[in-house]
Symmetry: C2
Subunit: 341 residues, 2 copies
């Protein structure tokens, strides 16, 4: 199983083909600069040896890797997964490779992953959200590695981002809910510490409440980690309170789906007894019963746009412009008007 023969190098290929390493290198990188006959010999040697170029050595010699790294909070979230898939597709079309890491929503892990991706030669990084120790940005600057934030939009933040306005999107949803006469509102949110998206979404609801003359602090809030089970538990707690909400906002669809499941378990009719709304519009939310009313996020477009921006940054040193993509509310079955009786 272990190395009885060392893995072949450029040198081995060159020897076997009877040419110099430079020629082999050219064969691999600029095939049209070598004669057909030579190329055939070399390629035969490459196949015979099962040669694969050593990425590290190549990166070191050529000073570029054509690799872009991305760090997402979790791979289990379908939203990130889809955005990333689009991101990778676009990247590949520009001849770049994607390196992915996940941080489990932990700041310390994220920092380690950032360093690891940079050390691995990533030419640039894609990050989710703005919230991050300033030291990390300094580190990236020191390394001259551009970074692009996505999933968030904050025109006041000096770091560029390609995302969407979480606050405005959630505000729009909240206004819709308020327009349907709901007045007792609750929110099941992802933990808000070091999560600017979650905070922005809550602020959006409060904005709408204020606009409707309600006290923003009246919003009941439960923070809980990502997961169907957690959403269900939080929902149960909310509905056991004396003063039940009539509409429950969920910071993301996964929590929303958990809430829906719990409602059924408790024998509560959605939207008859209580309305539930989500955020993200992942596939899940179309197949629940009732289907979940939610905020649609343009994952694909966002991923592709981020990829193009990052490629431009790397290739031409072109600074990225902060852009917001539009979100929209998808009305399905889980939100209804309150009978103003």
């Amino acid at each position: 199983m272990n190395a009885d023969k060392p893995t072949p190098t450029l040198h081995d290929v060159a020897d076997l083909a009877g040419v110099s390493t430079a020629t082999v290198s050219r064969c691999l990188n600029f095939p049209d600069r070598v004669k057909q006959a030579t190329r055939d010999k070399v390629m035969a040697a490459v196949d015979a040896l099962g040669y694969a170029p050593n990425f590290g050595a190549r990166a070191m010699a050529s000073q570029r890797t054509n690799t872009i790294g991305a760090i997402i909070p979790t791979m289990e979230n379908a939203v990130f997964a889809r955005g990333l898939q689009a991101f990778e597709d676009e990247l590949r079309q520009h001849g770049f490779t994607l390196l992915v890491a996940s941080s489990s929503y932990r700041a310390d892990v994220e920092e380690a992953q950032i360093r690891s991706l940079i050390a691995r030669g990533a030419d640039a990084l894609l990050l989710i959200g703005h919230d991050r120790d300033p030291a990390i940005y300094q580190f990236l600057e020191g390394q001259r590695k551009p970074a692009l934030v996505t999933w968030a939009y904050d025109p006041d933040n000096p770091r560029p981002s390609v995302g969407f306005d979480n606050r405005a999107a959630m505000r729009a949803m909240a206004e819709k809910v308020l327009a349907l006469h709901h007045r007792k509102l609750a929110l099941i949110s992802a933990p808000m510490a070091s999560n600017d998206r979650a905070r922005a979404r809550m602020m959006g609801i409060r904005d709408a409440m204020a606009a409707y003359g309600l006290t923003p602090e009246a919003l009941a809030v439960i923070e809980t980690p990502y997961g169907i089970e957690n959403g269900a538990d939080a929902f149960a707690r909310l509905m056991q309170a004396d003063d039940r909400p009539t509409a429950v906002f969920c910071g993301n669809d996964v929590l929303g789906v958990g809430a829906l499941r719990q409602a059924r378990a408790m024998g509560l009719d959605v939207p008859g007894d209580v309305s539930v709304v989500g955020f993200d519009d992942i596939e899940l939310s179309q197949v629940t019963y009732p289907p979940l009313t939610t905020v649609h996020v343009p994952h694909g477009a966002m991923g592709r746009k981020a990829a193009r921006a990052l490629v431009a940054m790397v290739l031409h040193g072109q600074p990225a412009e902060t852009t917001a993509l539009p979100t929209e509310i998808v009305m399905r079955g889980s939100l209804a008007a309150i009978d103003p009786a």
Copy 2:
């Protein structure tokens, strides 16, 4: 934005700290081999410069990367995502890093990704399923890189795998369905070319049919790519046929959920008019209406076990043993007995 100052190297740190590069290297790799005072100086320099070791150079010099690569068909599938998360957790505990790539279920892309991960220095690879051009295995052998197959279990295959018996699992499910008096069966499967898991699952159903004295060929089969929409379409086609099945097997839960959605859209009662069963047991299947009866796959355990096996292969050259983890049938609401009227 672009490099006005080059990124700092070991040498720069050494100069700033007034020591040699060897000392800096030792500080980073074997902190206890340098004096406290020296270490402090060096670390201060590291921080001041924002130094990060160059992975390629390090790999080249030390001849190992402590990195394991994994190639999954798609990131969008929650099943792979969960297994991978467990895999990564376990890997990290052993001091290894995970490199992920996805192949979009395409053999050519998978091959490119395999080469890319090896070139990037992966010490070993995790692959999904056995089906693969033999040349790829030869290549891996030539590179002396161990590979472990997961998600599948085939004791006859010489390549080691840590997975589960797709065929037996699906057969058990089919026997359950047959015991409930269903006789007209259909299968919505992922494309079976170059997908041994999909084929094995179909064989499992046929095995059970044969055991019940039915003609295995009577199984109606539709192949369609991964996706809720595709599952829905396939289900619609199945139910428009003259001879409707009474039970529809789905090769995975995502297709199953699509079938469920379509059933509702067509006004068909599940399981009253038709039963639907899935495979994988992803979170999705608990929240549909009715909840999906499915085959539970031990993602987490599988990921962790695979990680341990791979680490042992890399560290001690210990060959992996092919092992199968148990699956189980999760009865939910989408499967019911047929009224033998």
